[in-house]
C-alpha cells in the first residue's frame, strides 16, 4: 500500500548537529524493514520523519511518489508504537484504541467492530474498560499495538517497542509481531539497537551509525557479508574477533600473518587481494567459526593460551591469547581445557573476513 522513498534526505539542527546525512532508501511495500544502530545513529530520526514528527531539512521524502515533506502527521496514513507506549492515561483501553478511528470520523459501529477484533487478536478483551495505570507493562504494550493496528495504516512504525519488557516477554513478543506483519500485509518500519531482534524480524536491515547508512541488506547478507568493520562488529553475539596483521607470502600461498599465526586465504579472497603482500589488514573471525576437531591443518591453525572460560548453558566461551591478541571463541561443552593450557583450534577459512586497516572497509564485499 505504500512505498516510501528517501531521496538524499538530511536532517541538520540549528546548532550544526547533523542527525542524518544523505539518506537514500527505498522501502518496498509490505516489507519488514529494521533500522538498526547504536543510540544517536539517526534511526529514530528517520522513523520520525516518516511519521511527520520531524521535519526534513534536506532532500525529499516520498510516499508513493508524492512529496510528503510539508504534510503534518495527522494527515498521513501512518500508525506508530512508541517505546514507552504513550497511552492516554485518562482514557480507558477501549478509548485508547478507538481514538485514532474517532479522529478520522469512522462510523461508530465500524469502530466498535475493529476495536473488538483487535482486542481479541491481542488477547486483551477483558481489559477494555480498564485504565492504563491498571495494566502491566506487557498489557500496555499490547494496547499500544492495538491502537496502531485498528487504523489499518499504510505504514506501521515501531520505535523500540520491546525495550521496556523483560527478556522472556521480549522473545515471545517478537514472534507475535512477526505474525502480525504476516497477517496485516503492511509495510513495517522497526527501530531497534538490539541486533538479535533485527536478525529475527527483518526482511531487510538498514545499519546506521552517526547519521550515515552503513549497509542495507537482508539479515543474511549483512551478517555474512559485512561491508565494514562496524557492521561486522555490530551483528553477532558475541561480537566478531578482530586481529591486526599483514598479508604475506607463506609457502607459496597468500596468507594473513601475525607473528607465528599464518592463515591461508581461500582462493576467491586471495584473488581479490592478489599482489598486495605487506599490506596491513584486519582479520575478522566470528566466535562460532572455529572447531576443536583435531587434527588441524597448518594453514587453518589458531593456537594460543587459554585465559578464561565462561560456560553459557549450551556452549562455552573460551578466551584465548593468540600472538598478543585476545580472542573469544564459542566451543562445545565437551571441550576441556584449563586456564593456562595451550589450545589449538581450526578456523573455517571460508568464513574469514578481511578489512582494510585504515578505512575499516571490507576488502572482500562491496
Amino acid at each position: 500500500m505504500a512505498r516510501i522513498k528517501f531521496d538524499a534526505v538530511g536532517k541538520k539542527y540549528p546548532n550544526g548537529f547533523v542527525a542524518l546525512e544523505n539518506l537514500n532508501l527505498d522501502i518496498e511495500d509490505r516489507e519488514f524493514l529494521v533500522l538498526l544502530g547504536p543510540s544517536g545513529c539517526g534511526k529514530s530520526t528517520t522513523l520520525n520523519m516518516i511519521a511527520g514528527l520531524e521535519d526534513v531539512t534536506d532532500g525529499d521524502l516520498y510516499f508513493d511518489r508524492e512529496v510528503m515533506n510539508t504534510v503534518p502527521p495527522h494527515k498521513r496514513d501512518v500508525a506508530m508504537v512508541f517505546q514507552s507506549y504513550a497511552l492516554y492515561p485518562h482514557k480507558t483501553v477501549y478509548d485508547n484504541i478507538a481514538f485514532g478511528l474517532r479522529m478520522r470520523k469512522h462510523p461508530k459501529d465500524e469502530i466498535d467492530r475493529r476495536v473488538r477484533d483487535a482486542a481479541r487478536r491481542l488477547e486483551i478483551e477483558p481489559l477494555l474498560e480498564r485504565r492504563p495505570d491498571q495494566l502491566s507493562g506487557g498489557q500496555r504494550q499490547r494496547v499500544a499495538l492495538g491502537r496502531a493496528m485498528v487504523r489499518q495504516p499504510a505504514v506501521f512504525l515501531m520505535d523500540e517497542p520491546l525495550s521496556n519488557l523483560d527478556a522472556a516477554l521480549r522473545i515471545s513478543m517478537r514472534a507475535e509481531i512477526k505474525q502480525l506483519h504476516q497477517a496485516m500485509q503492511t509495510t513495517f518500519v522497526y527501530v531497534t539497537h538490539d541486533q538479535a531482534e533485527a536478525l529475527t524480524l527483518a526482511d531487510r536491515i538498514v545499519v546506521m551509525r552517526g547519521g550515515v547508512v552503513q549497509q542495507i541488506g537482508s539479515p543474511d547478507a549483512i551478517y555474512e557479508q559485512p561491508r565494514n568493520m562496524f557492521v561486522a562488529a555490530f551483528l553477532g553475539n558475541p561480537p566478531i574477533n578482530f586481529i591486526d596483521g599483514r598479508l604475506a607470502r607463506h609457502e607459496g600461498a597468500l596468507v594473513f600473518r601475525r607473528g607465528e599465526l599464518a592463515l591461508a586465504l581461500p582462493p576467491d579472497m586471495a584473488q581479490r587481494v592478489a599482489g598486495q603482500e605487506g599490506r596491513e589488514v584486519v582479520l575478522g573471525i566470528r566466535a562460532e567459526d572455529v572447531t576443536e576437531q583435531q587434527p588441524v591443518a597448518a594453514g587453518e591453525r589458531v593456537q594460543g593460551r587459554v585465559l578464561s572460560k565462561l560456560p553459557v548453558g549450551s556452549d562455552q566461551f573460551y578466551e584465548l591469547e593468540v600472538e598478543g591478541a585476545r580472542l573469544f571463541f564459542r566451543l562445545g561443552k565437551e571441550v576441556r581445557h584449563r586456564e593456562g593450557d595451550c589450545a589449538v583450534l581450526g578456523v573455517n577459512l571460508n568464513r574469514l573476513h578481511l578489512f582494510d586497516k585504515g578505512s575499516s572497509n571490507s576488502l572482500v564485499w562491496h
Binding site: 514528527l53 503534518p72 500508525a79 506508530m80 512508541f82 504513550a86 485518562h90 479522529m103 491502537r147
Partner: protein, 308 residues
C-alpha cells in the same frame, strides 16, 4: 517523604518539634484573623473596652445585619463626602455599597478567569510543546511584561480609559486584570505542560489530531491540577486587586469590593465593629475558595508525573 530537616535529636523529639513549629505558625497566621472575626461580633460598646475582650462577652450579629439591611439607602447630595478626587463621590457612612461591590468583584473575577484560560492555555501549550521560530523571544516577552510595576500602568491606562469613555466600566478592569494575570498563568501552565510526556503529543498527532485537538483532547484533561491553580490565582488576584480598581471606578455602581472596603477605613465616623464586620465579609469568599482547593495549589505548581 524524606526527612530533610536536620533534627539530630531522638526520635521522640522530632514529632514534638514539628508540633511546636506547627503551633507557632498556625498561631501567627490565625491570631490576627481570629481577632478580626471576634471583633466583628462585638457591639460598639464592647469593642471599645479596655482591656479588649478577646472573646465577645455578648456576641451580636448587629454589624452584619446593618450591612445587609442598608442596601436600600439612597445616595443624596447631602450624603456625598468631599475627599480624594480619585475615590470620587462615594458614601462611606452607609454600608449599602458593600454587597453591590462584592457583586461587581465577582463579575469581574469570573470574566477574567474565563478569558485568562482562553488566552493562556493555548499559549502555554505552544510554548511547551511546539518548536517554532520566536519561541525564546515569546518567553522573554512574557516574563518581562510583569516586571513593570502596577504603578507604571496607572497613568497611561487612566488617560487611555478616559479617552475611550470606558471609565466606570467594568470592562476596563477586566482587560487590565487579564493582562496582569496572563503572564503568571502562562508561566504555571507552561511548566506543567512541559512535565507531561512528549510522546503523548506525538501519539495524538499520529492518531490524527491537529495541534489544537491534541491540546484539547489529550493535554487539557491531564493538566487539571495546574488549571485549578491558575483559576485560583487569577480569581484571587482579580478579587483582591486594589490600585487599578481605584483608578478606574469613580462611582459606587462600578466599584469593586476592595474599593468599598477601603472607603470605610478613611471615614472616622464609622464604628470599629462595623469595619471589622465588613472585613470579615470581604474575606469569606476568597478564604473558602482557597481552603477548598488547597491541595491543587501545590500540585498545580509542581511538575506532575504522568505515566503512560
Amino acid at each position: 517523604m524524606q526527612a530533610v530537616l536536620p533534627l539530630p535529636i531522638a526520635r521522640l523529639g522530632r514529632p514534638a518539634l514539628l508540633l511546636l513549629g506547627s503551633l507557632l505558625f498556625a498561631l501567627y497566621v490565625l491570631a490576627p484573623v481570629a481577632w478580626l472575626v471576634s471583633s466583628s461580633f462585638q457591639s460598639e460598646a464592647e469593642i471599645t473596652s479596655k482591656p479588649p475582650h478577646w472573646v465577645p462577652h455578648q456576641p451580636t450579629a448587629h454589624n452584619f445585619r446593618s450591612i445587609f439591611e442598608a442596601r436600600e439607602k439612597v445616595v443624596t447630595y447631602e450624603n456625598r463626602r468631599q475627599g480624594d478626587t480619585a475615590t470620587g463621590g462615594f458614601i462611606p457612612s452607609t454600608a449599602g455599597n458593600l454587597l453591590p461591590g462584592m457583586w461587581n468583584s465577582l463579575i469581574v473575577a469570573v470574566a477574567v478567569v474565563l478569558l485568562n484560560l482562553v488566552v493562556s492555555v493555548p499559549a502555554a501549550y505552544a510554548l511547551a510543546k511546539i518548536r517554532f521560530i520566536g519561541r525564546s523571544a515569546s518567553i522573554y516577552f512574557m516574563l518581562t511584561s510583569r516586571v513593570i510595576p502596577d504603578i507604571a500602568l496607572v497613568v497611561p491606562f487612566f488617560l487611555f480609559v478616559q479617552k475611550l469613555g470606558l471609565m466606570d466600566n467594568l470592562l476596563s478592569l477586566v482587560i487590565t486584570y487579564l493582562a496582569v494575570t496572563v503572564p503568571f498563568s502562562i508561566f504555571i501552565l507552561t511548566g506543567y505542560f512541559e512535565s507531561l510526556p512528549d510522546e503523548l503529543d506525538k501519539a495524538a498527532r499520529v492518531d490524527g489530531c491537529s495541534r489544537l485537538q491534541t491540546l484539547l483532547l489529550v493535554y487539557l484533561p491531564l493538566a487539571l491540577p495546574s488549571l485549578v491553580a491558575v483559576v485560583l490565582f487569577t480569581f484571587l488576584t482579580s478579587w483582591n486587586e486594589f490600585l487599578l480598581a481605584l483608578m478606574f471606578t469613580q462611582t459606587p455602581a462600578s466599584q469593586t469590593m476592595p474599593i468599598v472596603v477601603a472607603s470605610f477605613t478613611s471615614d472616622f465616623n464609622i464604628s470599629f465593629s462595623f469595619i471589622n464586620a465588613a472585613g470579615v465579609l470581604a474575606i469569606i469568599p476568597p478564604v473558602i475558595i482557597a481552603i477548598l482547593f488547597e491541595r491543587y495549589i501545590v500540585a498545580g505548581l509542581t511538575a506532575g508525573a504522568v505515566k503512560g
